[in-house]
């Protein structure tokens, strides 16, 4: 039968695209971590998404598992095929399909090499930010699978922050398009897909965000007499409010290896540690930042600090850093590369422990790592011919993991779990956490054929049983059969039950219900007819929330998770909810470590209160908020604010969560370190899910230092065309505004600081160091002066202006409010469509447009003619869809909502969203009917 499959594959792909000779398969038995070996059944080389789909159809019909592979540079054994599965090698799918300079995106086949994208984008002054050390060889597809980081993710974020959409082949061969829930409504599927290590499906095409190449860079190399001083310097740099693009450490052993290699950068052999600090941005002010960093290094005992004098020297330094892993081959026959994360403030302790562990097992360890993120990469040197070392290499690895987890860290920051760390996952996740992850996997891949045996240990804890198969000592047929049976059992649990509606609760005894709720949380924490439900509960602890949900389960009540109740009516009308559970009395700060730039708080804490508690740091999001918005609500709606252009939406800042599931169990997602790819990133799924999957009870965010200066330019004109042109001119310049917001007349009046309310107003905000900001303001004003009809003013004390702006969306609950997102370049077309409708005086509209990311929010008066309104909204939604975006109703009278879907078409991935809902909330208990895709 197997032969028949091979024949079929050859027929589709041609015989030169199928490798099935065992000798030729040998090189595919391992990836960048050759400690793990599994021989595949065959390797196929498709050229297109359609070919991948056909391959997968054939394999899934025969129940043969498959694994996607790019360049095989991964270091977690992720690209190995278990159970003699088939490797789908994407090396030939390396076309760069499109670079869209205006919207700063690239569409690529996922076999494209990471560094080739930046090379191709360079003539347009753009680049792709994630830069793993293997970037000259690794593929975008591999980066997506692992959620790869790199040296510059300290400032620019990891892969998931740069993937806008992905085309994915699912295990049944269907081709779906995943999005972050922005251009297509629904769950952030692309967010949870990135980092799923090929277990959800195969990404064959991706839409990636490109960034403007920073006009100026300063690269500093500082040598230290010992590792501790160097790590303290790292913390001091972060604490000083500097945001380096990269902050890397190399220890003595690594320096020696690198200096012996082709990548020697002139590091002195006797230095015990070296830091590479890179600052980038505008020329203005960069030197003083660099000097500041250099001073900090000297204060912490750096014996020599030098700055790269030119691009050539800079390149040399980076080549040395990035070649470090390979260079270890010079000093050791075998190298086991490890990857773990600790909170930045715990670096000195963790490093000391790692050296100690290596000593204990008589192994040499070299450290080369992303110090700014606390992401360690101990390289354990050994000789596989030495029995003692071979026997202990694993023990040492495990102890390092345990040490880092104990320090509050994670088992992997960027390499992924794959095969290598599967047995460590239980160190940080409970059975419930992992079961939830498996459910999400099942929603994507119900038959369990996508890269099986990776990331999550299946039941019957077979961590120890999972022997590493080699060609000779390969698993016996029986062992394979056993494991398959295991897997099948696990997946059987995941089969979604039939979707039940919660509407079957005709008898509701409100007194009895109130009493049973009060019994859990006390009479003082219950209110009748509040927060949109007959009963509203205000629990004060996670245990109470859990208890309430178990009660709801017993009673079969539909539940609405809530915070302050700002967005209770968001989305489609919720059917028959009995109980709303508000987090607003569950609102304590749990942990705040300024040196780590991380904060953990209960979900009911208000965003405004959190930010007031953070001294010189802040959570840089400004969602719609009149001061009442809770952290849980902000995450559940996931709504970006004006400054999301510069700082990112809530999804970019949530790094950890605890969530109450429908049956009352509390599960954890993510962690408390800024870089973490252990398990699936369920935070992405809950963020923006509008309380339909679970109830967020606790959140961990990564923070930013507060900018030293913030200045806004307010430019006014009677027409918006010239303002959009001015905005575009600024956006395509070298300037880096954090917000570019255009307001309609009337909207402007609410901000007293603006002189005229008859005109359109463009607000451009700059933030950062004094020198940088004042330079940018000057440049921006000069650019705006090209437009004679625009009058510009500079507002230095602008904090009030922006917080007032954030309140606008929550003020008019009796109006019709909708928002649309389209590609940035299509903003004016969308705005024209909105304001130049027939039968609707443009003057009666109030709107606010984020020019930088194509978002538009419009308030209209409701008229009596509902049908006409719906017709007009349908037209607008079609317009948005045809521009490649979407339109969502934010607020509307019930009668309109009952006749017009608030969300619009959820696209070809709608079924996955419904699967996820069915897996996570099988009884449809949470906010039934509220969300997109009929969820």
């Amino acid at each position: 039968m197997a032969d028949q499959i091979i024949q079929q594959l050859k027929k589709i792909l041609g015989s030169d695209a199928v490798v099935c000779d065992d000798d030729e398969l040998l090189v595919y038995e391992c990836d960048g971590l050759p400690q793990h070996k599994l021989l595949p059944r065959a390797v196929v080389f498709p050229n297109s998404t359609e070919e991948v789909s056909e391959i997968v159809r054939i394999l899934s019909a025969a129940k043969i598992p498959f694994t996607a592979r790019g360049a095989g540079t991964g270091v977690s054994g992720g690209a190995l095929a278990k159970d003699r599965g088939v490797i789908i090698e994407l090396a030939r799918m390396r076309r760069l399909l499109r670079i869209d300079t205006e919207n700063r995106i690239a569409v690529v086949q996922t076999g494209l090499i990471n560094s080739h994208l930046s090379k191709a984008a360079a003539p347009f002054n753009l680049y792709y930010a994630p830069d793993p050390s293997s970037q000259t060889a690794c593929t975008i597809g591999g980066n997506i699978a692992e959620n790869a980081g790199g040296s510059h993710c300290l400032k620019y974020g990891v892969t998931v922050d740069h993937v806008i959409a992905a085309r994915v082949v699912l295990s049944d061969g269907r081709i779906v398009d995943l999005d972050a829930g922005t251009l297509t409504p629904g769950y952030d599927l692309v967010g949870v897909f990135v980092g799923s290590e090929g277990t959800f499906g195969i990404a064959t095409e991706a839409t990636l965000r490109l960034l403007p190449t920073p006009p100026a860079v300063r690269t500093i190399l500082a040598e230290f007499p010992d590792v501790n001083n160097a790590s303290r310097a790292v913390s001091a740099i972060i604490a000083a409010g500097l945001v380096p693009a990269a902050l890397e450490m190399i220890d003595a052993a690594t320096i020696r290896a690198v200096e012996a290699s082709v990548f020697a950068a002139g590091l002195p052999a006797d230095a015990e540690a070296a830091l590479i600090i890179e600052l980038d941005g505008l020329e203005a002010g960069l030197d003083s930042e660099a000097t500041h960093a250099e001073t900090i290094c000297r204060e912490h005992g750096a014996r020599e600090v030098r700055r790269a004098v030119d691009e050539k020297e800079r390149e040399k330094i980076w080549k040395a850093r990035k070649g470090a892993f390979g260079a270890m081959g010079r000093i050791s026959p075998d190298v086991m590369i490890q990857d773990a994360v600790v909170p930045r403030s715990k670096l000195p302790k963790a490093l000391a422990a790692i050296y100690q562990i290596a000593d204990k097992y008589n192994l040499e360890v070299a450290n080369v790592f992303h110090a700014g993120d606390g992401n360690l990469h101990p390289l354990l040197c050994y000789d596989s011919r030495d029995e003692y070392q071979l026997a202990h290499i694993k023990d040492a690895g495990r102890e390092i993991m345990e040490t880092c987890v104990e320090a509050g860290g994670s088992i992997t920051g960027e390499h992924g779990v794959g095969l290598d760390k599967i047995e460590y996952l239980p160190l940080i996740f409970s059975d419930d956490d992992m079961e939830t992850m498996l459910r999400v996997r099942a929603a994507f891949d119900p038959i369990g054929l996508c890269n099986p045996g990776k990331i999550i240990p299946l039941r019957r804890g077979c961590g120890e049983k999972r022997v590493i198969a080699t060609k000779e000592s390969g698993l016996s047929e029986k062992a394979i059969a056993d494991e398959k049976a295991d897997a099948a059992k696990s997946y059987a649990v995941m089969t979604p039950p039939d979707k039940k509606s919660s509407s079957g609760i005709p008898v509701f005894d409100s007194e009895k219900a109130r009493a049973s709720v009060a019994k859990i949380i006390g009479e003082e924490n219950v209110r009748a007819n509040a927060l949109g439900c007959p009963l509203a509960a205000f629990p004060t602890s996670v245990e109470e929330i859990s208890e309430l949900l178990r009660l709801a389960e017993r009673e079969n009540w539909a539940v609405i998770p809530a915070g302050s109740g700002t967005w209770l009516d968001a989305g489609n009308p919720v059917g028959n909810a009995v109980l709303s559970i508000s987090t607003s009395r569950h609102k304590n700060l749990i942990e705040y470590e300024p040196a780590d730039l991380v904060v953990t708080a209960e979900a009911g804490m208000k965003l405004s209160e959190l930010n007031a508690n953070l001294d010189s740091q802040w959570l840089p999001i400004d969602p719609p908020d009149d001061g009442r918005a809770t952290l849980g609500g902000v995450a559940a709606t996931g709504m970006p604010g004006a400054q999301a252009f510069g700082y990112g939406a809530p999804r970019h800042h949530v790094i950890g969560m605890r969530v109450a599931l429908a049956d009352g169990r509390i599960v954890k997602a993510g962690g408390r370190v800024v870089k973490n790819v252990a398990g699936y990133d369920l935070c992405k799924l809950f963020t923006g899910s509008y309380g339909t999957l679970g109830m967020i009870v606790e959140l961990t965010f990564k923070l930013r230092p507060r900018p030293l200066a913030e200045i806004t330019i307010a430019a006014q004109s009677s027409d918006y065309i010239s303002l959009i042109q001015a905005a575009r001119m600024i956006l395509s310049s070298e300037l880096l505004p954090v917000a570019v917001e255009l307001l309609s007349p009337g909207n402007s009046v609410k901000s007293d600081l603006i002189t005229s309310n008859e005109r359109h107003t463009l607000l451009i905000r700059f933030a950062g160091a004094d020198e940088t900001v004042s330079y940018q303001v000057k440049r921006a004003v000069a650019l705006i002066e090209n437009f004679r009809q625009i009058a510009a003013a500079t507002i230095s004390d602008d904090a009030g202006l922006w917080s007032e702006l954030a309140t606008i969306p929550v003020q008019n609950s009796n109006k019709l409010i909708w928002r649309s997102v389209v590609p940035r370049s299509k903003m004016d077309t969308m705005l024209d469509a909105a304001t130049k409708r027939s039968g609707n005086g443009a003057a009666s509209l109030l709107w606010q447009a984020s020019i930088g990311d194509g978002r538009l929010r419009v308030e209209e008066e409701m008229t009596d003619d509902i049908l006409e309104k719906i017709k007009s909204l349908e037209e607008l939604r079609r317009a948005a869809n045809s521009l490649g975006g979407n339109l969502v109703i934010e607020n509307a009278p019930l009668i309109l909502k009952e006749n017009f879907d608030s969300w619009g078409d959820a696209g070809n991935a709608a079924e996955i969203m419904r699967n996820i809902k069915a897996q996570m909330d099988s009884e449809n208990r949470f906010s039934p009917g509220r969300f997109a895709a009929g969820i």
């Binding site: 000779d21 000798d23 090189v27 540079t73 090698e89 293997s134 000259t136 012996a260 390979g326 075998d334």
Partner: protein, 451 residues
Amino acid sequence: MVKNDSLLSDILSKEKEKILACVHCGLCLESCPTYLATGNENDSPRGRIYLIRNVEEGRLQPTSSAFESHINRCLGCRACEQVCPAGVEFGNLLEGARAEISSKKTERGLAYHLQSFLLRYIWLYPKRLRFLFSFSRIIRDIKLPSLLLKTGIPSRFFPRLAFAFALLDASSPAPLNFTKNEDIAEEKETPAATEKKRSVMLFKGCVTEGLFSRINKATGRVLKANRRQTQIPAKQTCCGALHAHSGDLEGAKTLARRNIEAFAADDSPIITNAGGCGAMLCNYGHLLAEDAEYDARAKSFSARVRDISQELPNEVIQANGCGNSDAVTYDSSCHLLYGQHAAGDSLQMLLSANVNYVPLNGSDVCCGGAGIYNLLEPELSSKILGEKLDNIKNSGAKVLATGNPGCHMQIRAGMNLFENSDLKVCHPVEILDESYRCAGRYDNDKAKVKS
């Protein structure tokens, strides 16, 4: 852990430490032209090292077709060495692996048999070799290959033979014809007459002398113009690169010993003008490392080797005021670039001739010539050549300079045969030589001869 006994003879197992140096990081993949062409890891440096490692560890038969075919498909361009952080000496591993293959009796194609026949029974005998090249020159100069190719018959029925004809035809001279440009004032640089002439030895190279003797002559003239006294040792022979690359290490060693003897008169620099030979001569130290008698001599021999462009580094005399408007591009030649590390100097030398230089994309990627790889692995070779030809077309160049006869013939043959283009191909030193001629640098010499 007990390893299986190696299936290898000691040829490859003595390279064990080099194999172990590879940590399997994969940074080499993208540097490999054959991997780029097929996407198959077996055709990548990491894959090939893994195959070698498995043979060494006894998991793979050295006679297996996977081992043989993927080792044979390597161009030997050594671009991977340049990006390898662990410093794996891939070129030496490859030669070991090929030696391993040829030491086992395996079924090989006709082309491979022909190759080993030629290397064994012609190349090792200078007289036979000279005869072969004389014969080839006659065939070339009576335009037989180009006439045959014009009929279209060989291309249609014997594509490999057609390409062989095209290669031979591609070695014909391509005159450059610089003219004086009176607008540019000529700077008369007069080399200090008092400076003592430096003595050098010229390595002629068998293919260069056989088919490109004009390049050796140009080299001689340029050296002389730059105040070098050139000796041409008579007993020199083929460098042995073809033998080493095809696994005939013994043949290579025989030739290496002869050359070491031939150049033993003094320790003046040994000048090469072919990257393939230069890289091989630089490697004599490694080749004869186990030869007690020759080890030390080989190492000091290798240390004396330099490309013509390295011999004339910064002080190379320019001939300003001469040139033509043809766009000239430069292709690195892998062995000059990765083996001899002289491609930068070679380009610099070209630029000193005041040419209208245009850069070539992928100049650092192999052209698919690789000795006679183009005849042994025609399919993969032509795929790789195709990339090179596209890049050359896109550069808009009318002239291409390259410092190795193999690349020279491969590129020009490809352009003639597949692109119907009359791109001129020449050695950088030919261009410098032409600029000297045009500028009148050799006039004195002629006058002297006449008088």
